[in-house]
């Protein structure tokens, strides 16, 4: 029969969680024995494992400002480089960050108006400061090129390629009349529950 000392500490669980599991093992083994106890244990361990944070970062991108979005992608790429999983959730104005084009047909009047006033694609996003009627971001992009800083689109392609889970908020898309065909390829559609599932399993959640 198994004794508690035979139970190896599980990977990716913090010491507190490990202690909890061990306590549960001891309690159960004292109370019962045999196959049923083992099965019961496995179920409980799986439940605990699901609740333990994984090596994951989740980022909500809410803004359509180039500087903030660039920061989000830079953090994502850093996390990926350090062997963490990343999921990015794009909602409201943040959808512009993964927009590659804008179509106006098939939309109602207000949605068309939004299509006209919002950035046509990610390259048209403004700056949160010093936007200067669109001159600011152009100047910023030129300066970034001169300084050999990776552009937003390149960084986005990089994090997508490295396995970032990109999720577009369906509610915001529906509200603003944004179709999936207007977004870059590889984006999944999801709602708040999808994000919560990711966020609850993450060590770090950011809202930008």
């Amino acid at each position: 029969m198994n004794t508690p000392s035979n139970v190896a500490p599980m990977k990716d669980l913090d010491p507190q969680m490990n202690a909890l599991v061990r306590e549960e093992v001891e309690r159960l083994l004292a109370a019962r024995s045999g196959e049923s106890a083992k099965e019961d244990l496995e179920t409980r361990v799986t439940a605990l494992e699901r609740r333990a944070p994984q090596n994951k970062v989740s980022i909500v991108v809410f803004s359509d400002e180039m500087d903030k979005v660039l920061a989000a992608f830079a953090v994502a790429s850093g996390a990926l480089a350090m062997d963490m999983e990343v999921s990015m959730y794009f909602t409201f104005w943040g959808l512009s960050a993964i927009r590659q084009e804008t179509h106006l047909d098939g939309k109602d009047f207000r949605q068309r108006m939004m299509g006209v006033f919002l950035p046509e694609n990610s390259r048209q996003m403004g700056l949160s400061k010093m936007n200067m009627l669109g001159l600011g971001p152009r100047m910023m992009r030129t300066m970034m090129r001169q300084k050999n800083i990776t552009s937003l689109e390149e960084m986005r392609a990089l994090v997508t390629e490295m396995g970032t889970r990109m999720i577009a908020c369906t509610m915001a898309m529906d509200l603003m009349g944004i179709k999936q065909t207007e977004l870059i390829p590889g984006v999944q559609l999801g709602g708040v529950a999808t994000f919560m599932d990711e966020a609850l399993n993450s060590r770090l959640t950011l809202f930008l």
Binding site: K11, A81, M82, D83, T150, M162
Partner: protein
């Protein structure tokens, strides 16, 4: 010391040196040594943190007048797990 591979990230800005290092290390086997050349001043602290988190070993970090040279030994066993 024997070096198995050299990576030149000079001219690249954050976060590219770290991403390139990760990609280069992924291709190596445990115990192999990678030399990274960098010019980004942030790479000194970045490389230290990168190694701390990923479990790879930072053997040498040289800063000679804004030009950096790092020697990293691959170790795929993470420290925090």
């Amino acid at each position: 010391m024997q070096c198995d591979d050299t990576l030149d990230t000079r001219g690249l800005r954050c976060p590219m040196p770290i991403l390139a290092t990760k990609t280069a290390i992924a291709k190596m086997t445990d115990g192999q040594v990678l030399t990274v050349l960098a010019s980004d001043p942030g790479s000194l602290t970045d490389m230290t943190s990168f190694c701390q988190v990923t479990g790879n070993e930072l053997l040498i970090a040289k800063d000679s007048d804004g030009s950096f040279e790092f020697t990293v030994r691959k170790n795929s066993v993470r420290r925090d797990s």
